[in-house]
Symmetry: C2
Subunit: 141 residues, 2 copies
DNA sequence: TCTCAGATGCGTCGCATTCGCAAAAACATC
DNA sequence: GATGTTTTTGCGAATGCGACGCATCTGAGA
């Protein structure tokens, strides 16, 4: 883990600074989808002097480099996750706000097909399914 | 058209005011996905005294009532369209910002299946495919 | 150790959106 | 049509997220 932060900085020609080290560490240790303020909370729990601006700068940097993905679920604010090796989409529980990841090769394939049919190539895509728990007995399947 | 504005206000217990009448009219006459500022532009072309705040309040009201759908394509600002009878999703051309609507029953069905498999019912969903024109000769299909 | 481009913290700015409030307009009632 | 009550409106100020400018600080190569 610590190693990967060092490697990443080297790879992108970034200086391995104290704030950067901590922010990246927090990012890699987070398995949820925190927003910038939440990240700042976690970071300042470790090193209270790190400013919000630096967190913003760091996530932007890492997003440009493809290390992070940015999402905007319903509300306005941006939330981040480390780029997964396998692309996935999200189920968002509207009652709790919790996010579940899923994959569907079939949906991906259909998207590809639709884009091609319209004369386009896919740059990226976003599928968010807002859901609510089934009342009782998930009857079928 | 004019009739439907009257009906809508009655249905939701809203007063049929001058600004409201014009804003709703502009919304129903728009077949694209205007943002609030663009809506305000169109509205003030008819009645220059209507304020931006009123446009904001009206679109929020109509969104709560399910009359409008709000989208946020990439950029920060919200864009609106009247709720279509048939649900559709969007292809966004990243080079021009233009939006193309499409439908895929197959994708809808797969989403339904995924949600159910996780023990959820779908409340709503959003699929945005960001695309770029194919260079030359859309070879297949 | 010295140097200096890159990084940071702080304060400020910009944009989209919301809010508070007094004045104006709508609807129900007479 | 005048009256009273409640909702809307316009205005300007406030908010929230995110970005920026600048002076200061610091990592890492010479």
């Amino acid at each position: 883990m610590e190693q990967s932060v060092t490697d990443l900085c080297r790879e992108f020609g970034l200086r391995l600074t104290g704030p950067r080290r901590i922010i990246m560490q927090v990012l890699f240790d987070s398995s949820d989808h925190p927003d910038v303020v939440e990240l700042h909370r976690r970071v300042t729990a470790i090193e209270p002097t790190i400013s919000l601006a630096t967190v913003y700068r760091t996530v932007n940097l890492l997003r440009e480099k493809g290390v992070l993905e940015r999402h905007t679920f319903g509300d306005g604010r941006a939330r981040y996750e480390t780029t997964p090796r396998e692309h996935h989409d999200h189920l968002i529980n509207v009652e709790t706000g919790s996010v579940i990841e899923f994959q569907s090769e079939e949906i991906e394939r259909l998207q590809e097909e639709i884009a091609r049919k319209h004369g386009f190539a896919i740059v990226s895509h976003k599928l968010e399914i807002y859901v609510r728990p089934l009342k009782r007995g998930r009857s079928r399947t």
